[in-house]
Every structure is written in C-alpha cells, then in structure tokens.
Symmetry: C2
C-alpha cells in the first residue's frame, strides 16, 4: 500500500513493528522511521493501517512514542483499520481533549487484500467531516482509484459500511467451507464442484476467491483466519450493541471460533473446511482429481447449490437489515457490497428487488424450505454438520410459521422487521 | 428389561441379533429363540425394543423371519422404540393390509436408561386405542411401575411426547458439554463447577447425569452419542414436517454431527465436550483437581450459569411450543418431562408460569440479553465457541426487536407465536 504511493511519486516515510516489512519498503524506495512519533514529523498526511482499534490508540496516543507528540498542525489523519463503529468518533474526542481539534480525521476502512493494496485499487469507505474528506481526497484516490466511496453520516459511517460488508464476507467464507466439505462428503470431484457452483446461484466472491486455495497443496496465508474472526467479532458486537439479532453471523462466529480452538487462527481461512471434515481434513484436496462423471456430480451438486443459495439469500437479508438499523443508506450500501468481496449471486440479483419492495420471484418461502430440507436431509444421512444451512432453514421456517409461506422468498427479511406488516 | 420381567414371574422368550446379550438373558433364566418368527410363537404379548423404526419393520414384517408369520390371533404388540411420530400409525396400516386387524398395537416409547430398565421403572409413554391400552396395561406396568403415562391422541401420541422430551434431552446434553468446556476454558476447578452449577438455575437432569463421567477417567459407554444423534434427527425431521422452526434443536444437531464427524459416534455422549476443546479434549478431566479458590471460581461460574439458564429457558419455550404445535396437551407434557431426563431447573420452575399465562418474573427479556451478552463476550475473548449460547441470544434479541424487551423473560416464547399478540 505504501509502495504503491511511492510508485505514484509520493514521498512516504513508513513505520512497522515488523522489521522485515519495513526493510522491504526501504528497498522499494521508501524512507523509514523507528517510532510513530518519528514517522509523522513534518508530514501533512498520515495513514494508519494496523489491525485493530486498540493498535490505533497505541500508535496515535502512546505517551512515549505516539504520533500525537509530533503531529503537524492541521495534519490529515486517515484511519484505515476496521474497528467497531464507535472507535473513530472516540479518536476524535481524544484528539479534541488533547487540544488537537486542528487535526482533520478521516474514517477510512478498506477492503480488497494485498494485491489491490499494491496496485492502488483498494475499496475505501471514507467518512468524516466535509473539510477532512476534502483534505484527504487526493491521498485516498491514490490508494483506491475508482473504488473510493464517500459515505454520508460522519465519522464512523465508513466503519458501519465495512461492518455490514463483513456480515456477508464472514458468512460467505464460512459457507464456502460448509459447501465444499459437503460436496467432498458427497464424493463429488471438488474441482468440478468449484466450476459448477461458481457458475450459478451459489456463487459468492469469497467462494470464487477461497476455493482455489483448497484445491491445491498451498500453505500460503492469503488471509489468516484470525482476521475474519476479528471482523465477525465486530459484527456480532455491533448487533449486540444495536439490540439486533444476527442469526447467521452468530452461527458463523461460532464456527470460526471452533477453527481457532482447533489451532487454525494463524493459517489461511480456506483451512476452515477442516473444521467440517475433522477425520479427513484433506478430503477436498484429494477429491480435486476424483474420477467421477459429470452427470453424477451435477446431481449431487444441486443439493449443495440450493443450500448455498438459501443461506446467501438469508445472509443478504440479515446484512441489509442491519445496515438499515444502523442508519446507512441501503442503495449506496448495495452498490458498495455488490462491487466488493461481500458480493454473491444472490446478493447482487435479489437485493435491488428487496429494496424496491417489488418482491416478485419465481420461488416462495415454502419453495426455499422444500429445497433446503432436501439438502439438509441428504447431509443428515452423512452426519455432516450444516451450521449455516440449519440456521438459515429455521429463519425461513419462522417466516412460514407467521403465515408468509406463500410469499416470495425475499419475505425472509420479515425476520428482522420490527412489526408484522 | 426382559430380565426384570422374569424376576417378576413372567415367562419370557427373548431374541437379539447380538448373541452375547441373548446368552446373558438365558443364564438369567429366560428362554431364547433364533428369529423373531420363532420368538412370538404361542405368545400373547410381544415387546419390541430395538433402536429404530426401520428395525421394527424388519423384525415384524420380514418375509422369511418376521414376527407376523407366527403372531397369535389377538396378540398385543408393544412398540418401545423411538421413531418419527408417523411410524406407529404406519405399522397399524401395514398390519391391517396384511389382514391382521386383530392385533392390538401400543405405541410405547421409553426413556430412562439401562438401570431403570433393569428395575422396572422406565418412563413409558403409552398411546393407542383404548382396547390395546387395556390389554397392554399389565405388561407396561411391570416395566414402568409408577412411571407409566397414558397419552391421549391415539397411535403416535406417545412418540410425539418422546420427541418433545428429546428436544430438551438433546439440547441439555449439548449444553452440558458447551458449559463444562467453557468452565474449563475459564480455568475453573471442574469438580467445583459441577457442584456449583447443579445447585442453581443452570441445573439440568442431563448435566447432573453426564458431568460425573467427564470428571473421572471412564471409558464406559452409558449412552452412545449415536443414540441422541438419532433422536435429534427425529426432532428436527418432526420440526421440518410440521413446518416449525427449532433453532436450538437445529444448532444442537449440527454440534452432534460434528461429534460424529470427529469419530465420537460410538462412545459415550459425555465425550461431546471434546468437540468444544479440540486442542485439549481432556481439559475438563485435568481441571477436576485444579487448585483454584472457591471465590475466584464462583465469579467465573456466574458467566457459565447465566448462559445455561438463558439457553435452558429458550429450550423450554422451544419444546413446549413444538408440543402444542403437534397437538399435545401441554400440562401433561410438562408433568412427564419434569419427572424425566428432559428436566431442568428452568423447565421445572418456569414452564407452569409459561402455561398459566402469568409471566410474572423478576427478569425481563432485556435482562436476559444483558446477562447472556456478558457471558458471550467473555467466551469471545477466549475464542470459545458457544453454538447454543449464541443461538439463544439471537432468539431473545429477536423478541426485543419486536418491542418486547421490557416484557418478562418468558416472552421468548413469542418467537414461536403464529401472530404477534
């Protein structure tokens, strides 16, 4: 991310607690410093890209080495970490208490991974006061290119969008493992499973991105499980603090915690599939070259596909409902997520209908129940756990119980309605 | 069970596919036969005690060796297995189709384990036509003593009561592991955890029964995990066929399936705790002799206790709601479960209030949310998975979202209401 700025002609001084990263940056032409305080000396724009809100507070306010000790008058501080929605307003308050109301502060969580960081096309969700956004715009555009979104609502609004995005990112990561483990348990050639499922209503960005790591022997950590664990923790804490039920997010969080308990925290999150296949964690890899027929496989994959479609539809409703609850503009939210890592076929195709109120669909709630029931009964025969599939089915059942079984499938969003319509 | 009948002076001919069991029965004074057909020759009362409905169909209707080939005219057939509610009416239909409407049929699922089977105090849930119940009564009383319940509603009604009982039995088994794994992860002396938790609002019959097996090195299979897996499969299939959402039962089923996937199916279900502690499955056992102070432990156990209380309260509401949905009389259902293995402090104390409509409570929905939130946030810090705790919290949140946060905690039952009140 910093190297991208250098390539674009910006003079950047970098600091990182991990010396090899800093050395790599210097060899790419950057300058380095030894503390946050040293780093910001004489600098107009400061970008914080650390893992957690606690690390921001440390880097900014540490009494010995914090950036605040040398922060230029009128500097623009851009906070790119993902924290709870209240953390950027909290940073603003602390700055003001320390007499630094002169600092321009931008809430700017990112999404997109290392490749897009390196080529300057990260998705950035910028929010804050107008003056700060104006000051920070040029730097943000150098990092995000066409993927810079300005979110109305002031400090914290960008983080709220990121939080809602992570509802879907997290559920889709978990569902990718649940689905590929099921496909393997059904004895399907897993390479074919990937090709078939990505091409239809089961598609998610995470599925397309993570499955290739499961199909080859590859120990690279593209995104450590601990990252999405942290993000889902923010999501469910956000749900709790809003008093808002998040069934699929909560179920996802428990599966992720099982992964951490099993010792997977520091490795790539595609390894989560081993939580679903404890006796044979490499089954998905092994079956990548299974000699099965396309016809047989495709029959079995219908079971997996309709399960994923049901979970992804309920997940879209859960995410959008949370977004509306925390005061975000749903159409902008849709546009951002549809173009980012939280996307899925279901999210992209069905959310506009959900928001327009025109729920016309070829399927009813009861149709989805019938499809998911078929899938769940197949998995039951194998004693294969469907943490998300099972949870999603109960949500459709709940809506059907309330007399909405013949309504279009999008009526699943009524789970989160405050009153019956 | 058969030996108990011999001791009471009944002449019994036994048959079992497992020869050592049959030999043990013969050495206790019983007669034996080599097929179901042989077994029933000249016999007025036939008791089937096999694991599944499929086994009943096999033992009764097999074309070579089935009991039907030699069944006496006017014999009374007592079906003690647990199957789906529709299976006994199905046996009746098959008997009639084969011209055996003379046979008296009793739906009589049992609960209670091997010790109560041996001393003739099994809980038996008998249902069927009046004439069949009259015929079977004496035999049933010899097996059940004071624990014979006659369930109105005809064939299948006994099985429905058993199914609702298993909602609680299954959730409590799973919650026992979730709770003890959490107590151990918090570093509590697990023997103290057992004593403290059983004495308060966290108590369940299953907790009291299963935890002692976790606290000593003991490989005895008191009740194999596969048994409760089969029973929860019947519960969730019953929910699906009734179109009724069962959030906690479904979450339990997935945890149980994880246990089977991990290879625990044939061992005692107390071993399910290892699903929660994959890196150190013996942690609960090891901490049985931990030197911790009572004061420290009790503070930590509050976290566990309030979590269990919340799950057990929501489970009571889920079970009773299902019972009402399938047409059972809730007060009889309450009496049976409160005296059987599905009991818990919460079930026993709160269900009468739930049924009376007098929901007076010292706690509101929002109070429970606050308590469970505290517990879940502690578990989150440890990345300890709370499959049931997380699910139950969403149920309370859902009710709060609908504007019932200030209502008594029993308003959680509104989750399963068909319309808002």
């Amino acid at each position: 991310m910093a190297t991208n700025l250098i390539k674009k002609g910006v003079a950047v001084t970098g600091y990182d607690v991990w010396a090899p990263t800093l050395a790599r940056f210097v060899s790419a032409g950057g300058s380095s410093a030894t503390t946050p305080k040293e780093t910001v000396k004489g600098v107009k724009f400061v970008v914080f890209m650390v893992a957690t809100a606690a690390q921001i507070l440390d880097a900014l306010f540490d009494e010995e080495n914090g950036a605040i000790l040398e922060l230029e008058k009128g500097a623009t501080v851009i906070l790119c970490s993902t924290g709870p929605p209240e953390y950027t307003p909290n940073v603003r308050r602390l700055l003001n208490e320390k007499g630094r109301s002169d600092v321009f502060l931008v809430d700017a969580p990112v999404s997109g991974g290392t490749i897009r960081a390196a080529n300057g096309t990260l998705t950035i969700l910028a929010a804050g006061e107008e003056s700060a956004l104006t000051k920070g715009k040029e730097t943000l555009e150098l990092m995000a290119g066409p993927n810079l979104y300005v979110i109305p609502g002031g400090l914290g609004a960008g983080t709220k969008v990121k939080m809602v995005h992570q509802v879907l990112a997290g559920i889709h990561i978990c569902m990718t493992s649940e689905a590929m483990g099921l496909a393997a348990s059904l004895g399907v050639n897993t390479k074919r499973a990937f090709e078939v499922l990505r091409a239809g209503e089961a598609m998610s960005w995470m599925f397309e991105n993570r499955v290739p790591h499961m199909l080859v022997e590859d120990k690279t950590v593209y995104s450590a499980l601990n990252i999405i664990v942290k993000d889902m923790g923010i999501v469910t804490a956000g749900g709790r603090s809003a008093g808002f039920p998040l069934f699929l997010s909560s179920a996802t969080e428990q599966v992720l915690a099982s992964g951490v308990s099993a010792g997977l925290g520091a490795i790539d999150d595609a390894a989560l599939v081993s939580v679903y296949l404890p006796k044979d964690p490499t089954l998905v890899l092994k079956l990548a070259s299974a000699s099965t027929t396309a016809e047989e496989d495709e029959k079995k994959l219908k079971i997996v596909s309709q399960l994923m479609a049901g979970v992804h539809l309920a997940a879209a409703a859960e995410a959008i409902s949370l977004g509306i609850e925390v005061g975000l503009e749903p159409k902008q939210l849709y546009g951002i997520i549809a173009g980012a890592a939280g996307n899925s076929f279901m999210f992209k195709e069905r959310t506009p209908q959900l928001l327009s109120g025109d729920w016309t669909s070829t399927k009813t709630i009861d149709d989805i129940i019938a499809e998911m029931t078929e899938s769940i009964e197949e998995a039951n025969k194998l004693k294969y756990p469907l943490h998300l599939g099972g949870t999603a089915l109960q949500l459709f059942e709940l809506v059907s119980l309330r007399g909405l079984g013949k309504e279009p499938d999008l009526a699943v969003s009524r789970v989160w309605a405050k009153v019956e319509r």
